[in-house]
Amino acid sequence: MTERFTKAAARNIFYGGSLFFFAAFVSLTAASHIYVVNTGTDSKGLTDSVARGKHVWEKNSCINCHTLLGEGAYFAPELGNVWIRYGGDKDPEGARAALAGWMAAQPSGIEGRRQMPQFHLTEQEVNDLAAFLEWTSRINTQNWPPKISG
């Protein structure tokens, strides 16, 4: 580095620049917060059942096998659009029954196939989880994922 670029100059650029970019980042996330609440998600449809379903999702650490909107572990299928994959947008009752059946049937015990644990969910918990996954499937994800396969 040249002599003209002094340590004091480097220091001032570092502190000034960092402050500027931090302020820019905070402003943009504040704008995003408003967007998420008003446009990106269905805030009105965020019922108690959806909230409880999110808790079921967390309590059983689903995220450490599955991805949800692409984030999580990569050991099991994407679940952000699982509601659509189960046909829930057309037949919600059918999707809910299919989910309940799936949860009850785990683990499959099939040799050589990845095993999902039995989480012993109550009927209410399965319904709440379904509500949460349904609500999640309506988040505006800019058309991600590219295919229904997730």
């Binding site: 580095m1 670029f5 340590k7 480097a10 220091r11 650029i13 570092f14 960092s18 970019f21 931090f22 820019a24 980042f25 943009l28 995003s32 917060h33 967007y35 998420v36 609440v37 990106g40 998600t41 805030s43 965020l46 959806v50 909230a51 999110k54 999702w57 967390e58 059983n60 650490s61 689903c62 995220i63 450490n64 096998c65 991805t67 909107l69 692409g70 984030e71 999580g72 572990a73 990569y74 050991f75 099991a76 994407e78 683990p107 196939r113 990845r114 095993q115 644990p117 949460f132 999640t136 988040i139 505006n140 994800t141 800019q142 991600w144 994922p145 590219p146 295919k147 396969s149 997730g150």
Partner: protein, 450 residues
């Protein structure tokens, strides 16, 4: 070692290395489950294994950072640590919290948000530990000599504590939850952790190459400046598909492309300092880890990050094995290696001997780095095939996973190599010191010039 209180770094290094062992052992198990899925499936399912694997990693890296700070701050500030006793209490509390969390996970006690699974009382304990630590080092720095290295290091460590506070905020709205979750996760590893990493690297360069402090510090400012200028808005690459506005696609693409720059300059910096310094420092293993850290971080965090960060690429790769490939090499290159570098440098000083087991230590470097490289390629290839079959052709997830199974075998073998490498490293660092190295004379002779 110039100051008696630098010794408090020792338990931190031991604790970090113990948890490193846990992380690798559980990682090896998780890699086994990928190829033999019925293993442990009821006793310790994959989600619990992964939770322990990632949490042990984060905690041991932090523990290593704490130890590194306790080692280098007295030397930089030119005075004893404010309170060694507080540092020991802090260690006990932190280690207890870490072990309690791991044991709790085995019994399914966790809060279920990725990486932030710690129960609330442990999160609170982490904050208390962080405050004890920050008080201790800030007091030491304030009363002593201020250097750029301590300024940046302390700033990074304060940032770690401040952004961790977002882990207490868990809104019901999933999109908001995700958005603020990244305030912890991204602003840590692609923000303030880079300050910690760069300042430790700068310290090692001053000590081992003998290059003038003025020059190193100018580089340090430039590198951490680039890290924050690119990394803060680079958070945008996590905001493409989670319900946040579309403008993040171009902001994230632009700024996260620039995130390669600080890592590139770290390589230039490390190589240039070593060539320019011309000091023949006896601890060749520590030097290898330091330069290796900059290079591997450039590939893992820089190149592999860029590979899938542009929004129109990420649209297809997001949440596939490509992400896993990047995650593994980035964490290893940037944060595991900087820790192993400072441990390698500091241990002979802390034990009061000349550098020892150098050949073994260097062998462990090549075995671990080689293993991680093979693992990264295996996961990258798996990811590319997965992207094509699942995201382009629209094939079902489980069918695709069966197609890419061979790559998971390669990954497991690579993981085993890393594990053996780590075992060699532990012996090289903690094993008995050969009699010929026990002369403190050499150790005293290599006190660095400033």
């Amino acid at each position: 070692m110039k100051y008696e209180s630098q010794k408090v770094a020792l338990p931190y290094f031991y604790g970090a290395l113990a948890l490193f062992g846990v992380q690798l052992l559980v990682g090896l198990l998780a890699g086994t489950v990928y190829v033999l899925p019925n293993v442990l499936s009821e006793l310790l399912p994959f989600n619990i294994l992964r939770m322990i694997h990632t949490n042990a990693l984060i905690v041991w890296l932090l523990m290593g950072f704490f130890g590194a700070a306790y080692y280098l701050i007295p030397e930089e500030a030119e005075r004893e640590l404010h309170s060694p006793k507080l540092a020991y209490i802090q260690f006990g509390l932190f280690m207890f919290g870490a072990l309690a969390a791991v044991v709790g996970y085995v019994f399914r006690i966790h809060e279920g948000r990725e990486f932030l699974e710690q129960p609330t009382w442990i999160k609170v304990a982490i904050v208390v530990v962080a405050l004890m630590f920050l008080y201790n080092i800030s007091m030491t720095v304030l009363k002593g000599r201020r250097t750029v290295i301590t300024n940046i290091l302390v700033m990074g460590l304060w940032g770690i504590a401040i952004f961790f506070l977002f882990s207490f905020y868990n809104p019901t709205n999933l999109a908001l939850d995700k958005m603020y979750w990244w305030y912890v996760v991204h602003l840590w590893v692609e923000g303030v952790w880079e300050l910690v990493m760069a300042s430790i690297l700068a310290f090692l360069m001053i000590k081992m190459t003998g290059v003038d402090r003025e020059i190193v510090e100018k580089w340090l400012y430039a590198i951490v400046g680039l890290a924050l200028f690119s990394g803060l808005l680079g958070t945008g690459h996590h905001y493409y598909w989670i319900g946040t506005p579309g403008y993040w696609q171009w902001i994230g693409s632009l700024f996260s492309t620039l995130e390669v720059a600080p890592f590139f300059f770290m390589v230039v910096f490390a190589v240039k300092m070593v060539l320019k310094g011309g000091r023949d420092h006896p601890n060749k293993a520590a030097l290898l880890w330091s330069v290796g850290c900059a290079v591997t971080a450039f590939f893992g965090a820089g190149v592999w990050g860029f590979l899938h960060t542009l929004s129109w690429v990420n649209y297809y790769t997001h949440g596939t094995q490509v992400t896993a490939a990047h995650g593994h090499l980035a964490f290893f290159g940037a944060y595991v290696m900087i820790n192993l570098a400072i441990f390698s440098y500091a241990m002979p000083h802390l034990r009061g001997v000349a550098p020892y087991h150098q050949t073994l230590n260097k062998a462990s470097f090549w075995l671990m780095t080689g293993g991680m490289t093979v693992m990264t390629f295996a996961l990258t290839f798996a990811g590319v095939v997965q992207v094509h079959l699942q995201r382009v052709m629209g094939m079902d997830y489980m069918t695709v996973q069966a197609e890419i199974a061979p790559f998971y075998w390669v990954r497991l073998a690579a993981g085993a190599a890393v594990f053996i490498g780590a075992a060699l490293y532990l012996y090289a660092l903690l094993g008995p010191v050969p009699a010929s190295r026990k002369t403190t004379g050499i150790g005293a002779a290599v006190q660095p010039a400033e």
